[in-house]
Amino acid sequence: MSRFRTEAGGRVKRDKVLSFTFDGVAYQGLTGDTLASALLANGVHLVGRSFKYHRPRGIVTAGPEDQNALITLRRDAARETPNLRATQVELYQGLEAESQNRWPSLKFDVNAINGLASSLFVSGFYYKTFMWPRSFWKNVYEPRIRAAAGLGKAPAKADPDRYTSRYVHCDVLVIGAGPAGLTAALAAKEAGATVILADEGAEFGGSLLGDAVTTIEGKSTDAWMSDVVMNLAMSDKVRMLARTTAFGYFADNFVALVERVTDHLAAPSDALPRERLWQVRAKQVILATGALERPLVFPENDRPGIMMAEAGRSFLNRYGVKVGLRAVVFTATDSAYRAAIDLKQAGVDIQLIADLRARPPADVVDEALACGLTVRAASTLCGTQGGLRVSAAEVGEVNGDLTIGRKEVVDCDVVLMSGGWTPNINLHSQSRGRLIYNETTQNFLPGAPGYDNVSIGACKGTYDLSATMNEGYAAGEAAARASGRKGGMKKGFSSLGGLAMGGGHLGVVPHDRDPGRVKAFVDFQHDVTAKDIKLATREGFQSIEHVKRFTTTGMATDQGKTSNMNALAIAAKAIGKAIPEVGLTTFRLPYTPTTFGNFAGTARGDLFDPIRKTPMHDWAAAQGAPFENVALWKRAWYFPKAGEDMHAAVNRECKTVRTTVGMFDASTLGKIEVVGPDAAEFMNRMYVNPWTKLEIGRCRYGIMCRDDGFVYDDGVVGRMAADRFHVTTTTGGAPRVMNLMEDYLQTEFTDLKVFLTSTTEQWAVIAVQGPKAREVLAPLVEGIDIGKDAMPHMSVREGRICGVPTRLFRISFTGELGFEVNVPADYGQGVLDAIWREVREAGGCAYGTEAMHVLRAEKGYIIVGQDTDGTLTPDEAGVGWAVGKAKADFLGKRGLMRPDLTGPSRKQLIGLLTVDPKRVPDEGAQLVASAAPAKGSHALGHVTSAYWSENLGRSIAMAQLENGRARLGETVYITSLTGAAFPAVVADPIFYDKAGARIDV
């Protein structure tokens, strides 16, 4: 066992040795270690390089607030996670970790030369320097800066892990399972509340973990904790979530927790997600998030081996690791004395305790002296020595006038520092709670909460252990009561030996070095020093929000957990304002960096969005059809025969429909059943068309506008009964049309007795189009005369087909004789099979959406959303004939009367015939007046639809064109992505069978 591992003690399992590697070097650790404790047990402090100067960096804390100990964890080629905090990574057998931000190696990093040039790399350097020439920013400066800066590398492969989510409700959510959180959860449970207790650590207990001296209720902390944890775990009303970070606090006590489910396992089960997102809605939230120890800002305070005093104590007591063999303790607080005593008793030489305070509390000092420690009051560190590890500290006496008196260089391999404790108010602040500055303790403390929550224990500035536990129990009882449980219990806790946490210092400590040159770090990760912050104030930045952005202090991955208060104090002093006047930056989610996977959850791959399939989808797939996405639907695009490409297949399908017959899956069209005694009047008001006189059994093409008079949707409507309409909508428009109708019915047309039901998916729809359509259907239909006169174009009949009920429409979106067979969806495939047999016998084919588009364009039929774009009136779209001008009112009637819609130079939908018939324009291409228009000329319009028409042997296009209908026969030019604009003649958009003779047969 290494000389840094103690003989006994701690919560590690000494008989369970684990092997791991760091930067390819093999090490051993123990079960229960974090990567940080295991590295320290092997004498490794150097774990990374800083962001800007690439200075060597060591482990500073034992918790999630660490700025330096960021590593990349590698499980396999696809499972590489950067920027994990070694202090939170639990060791497992075979763990592979790598340091970051160094090249070629951690011990020799060429970019460390930045440090020598640091007088150039002052704050705002990037803003000021890389200004000229302008084009260099994008191509030279930014890529190079980004390559040199940054932390870990994002993995290049798709994340193979799974992430899940769970919504959960509870009476009381307790965040943090230290002494405050445990007692709060205990009380809430005893009061009968449903409780969630979450802690980011692997074990519950917080600051009590590994505390060998403190006793609670006469028991050791270990014994007391395991009793309480067992008590809570036995209750089915308490959900205990370890390794779970509350990272976001949203409105009305909606709190997001991320549980790291498998990261600590060497060989996790496939069934388990890597992380589980708990989305908690809590009636009451109890924040027991503790306090974080602050570094002291002294010259060269960033060398590896310089760390927080309580971290040194935690590594010793919890993990059985001595962080060094010879320590200098530099403190402004009482708590570091306990660290010094514990480490000394474990055999670490404590060279001395340098206390910044002139008069540290006598009882604290006496206890240290009794343990044989040397204490120097009014002492500071004026600097440190060492390369990749601290080797000595320069201890100086602080005179009454803050000058430095006698100095001494003290050898050491570790410096334990403590600048005081900062209550962890992150979540309170996220919950929009107010913050109050306490002059005495020099801390921001939680004020009035934003929602139903309460802060307890160290995060509200209560440091005494018994007081913390009493506060916790009372808060748990009160929260349970506030959430409607009984409560009423009272309990007081007694403890002995809890940590004294008084004292503290903010800002730079006194020293005798040149403040303009010396590096006294405030933000270790982003290399922000005290002089950077002073520079920011000299540059005129008065607000801490500006200072933060100029210097990047507090913008590291820890969001300033350890640096904010020191930065604030330095800025306040430089500006000459009080700390609360300079203000604190706002805390934002996530509390600690959170994976993208956690946010994506199950929404990836096939589950990213619903993939809606028609009842005949699998049949189309079996025929080899590729699919097109239309809203959430998959629609068969075309049906290629062997050897056919898309164009060949579409050309064949278009020809076949016009010569024999084609079959098409139209199931995705939206359908709404409009029922009620006032159904016709409702239709009159919603659609531009008149409906009153539409006979039962007949259909009409309906156009719907928004109230601004622009076309919103269209579709064929069949009147099934006096009080019942079968309305169809576009595929993509179905939900919004239904919502618009329901909205008007509930808010504007409350006088109408009408009811709406979506029937989109009740009906499978098979369109049969072409000269042989009737002959295909005739053998299958029962009880309906589908003859020319009995069932004319634009009619609907009810009867049976293939023995099942049908609503049979005679309608056409191709310009050919056509029917649309509606059958209950489960019968869609069966009926299609029968129709398909007949279609093949008639020499027909199946066709997809592409042929459907071409065929309708040959006839000049518009597609709302393709040929219209929310800026065309019905008249401009070429369907002005549909408007019931005699109607008293309809949705859009007043909009259509707006002067700007009736004035000149409005665009109208027209057809285009390219002069070169083989040339198919690009959809979206601009229309211009000449082949080479002057720069700045305005476009006359644009192409909305363009296809090759095999039936016409040439290209056809539809376009929106200014005064288009007045320009029939004129030549306009169509821009091209690949060359010069080319000419086309403005034409009527009906390219095929203008008289409509083919449809009425």
């Binding site: 899940t164 709406l756 293939c802 209950p824």
Partner: protein, 187 residues
């Protein structure tokens, strides 16, 4: 005359997930499903002949024998009856209602799954944000809600049994998502 077309379930080709002793997922049998829209008086008139009287209390289902009526809104109920001649039953029910109303056959629009087992609520809460504790969502409660991005009707028919109804084209998405959310419960 051609042979009668056969039915093809929206779940054809989909594998239903299961976790031993914790969750079973089965397809609800074919059924008559109606959307009833109208006044409470219309609903009461229907109830007199249908069996279960549609509830006027929000989010409550009433059932009698193998028929049920689920409250979906102040003027909207979701009716379930065993498979049969939907048009004939609708005609007989409508005949009993004097009030204006709509009774629309949606037997094929919607499909149903039954989730049963001690983990059913947890699996639903994998993508449904409602509080499914027994106190907040007791047996007999029903509501329109979301399962991730799909709209569903959720009806608690037993302490550990839920019926989930949704539009048929969402079957693949919902079954896939239930399977994904159920997977961790095998551990």
């Amino acid at each position: 005359m051609s042979e009668t077309a056969t039915r093809l379930s929206a779940f054809a080709g989909l594998t239903l997930p299961a976790v031993r002793n914790r969750l079973s997922v089965t397809v609800a049998p074919d059924a008559i499903r109606y959307s009833l829209r109208g006044s409470p008086a219309a609903a009461a008139a229907l109830g007199a002949v249908f069996g279960p009287v549609p509830s006027t209390t929000a989010c409550r289902a009433t059932s009698a024998g193998d028929r049920a009526a689920l409250w979906l809104g102040p003027d909207e109920w979701y009716l379930l009856a065993p498979d049969g001649d939907a048009a004939a039953l609708a005609a007989s029910l409508s005949a009993a209602i004097d009030e204006p109303h709509a009774l629309v056959d949606i037997s094929h629009r919607n499909v149903g799954l039954i989730l049963k087992g001690p983990r059913a609520a947890d699996v639903l809460n994998g993508a449904c944000p409602l509080d499914l504790s027994e106190t907040a969502f007791p047996v007999g409660m029903s509501t329109r809600t979301l399962y991730a991005k799909a709209e569903i009707i959720l009806w608690r028919t037993g302490l550990d049994t839920f019926r989930v109804e949704f539009w048929r084209s969402f079957a693949g998405y919902i079954v896939g998502l239930i399977a994904e959310n159920a997977r961790e419960h095998a551990v």
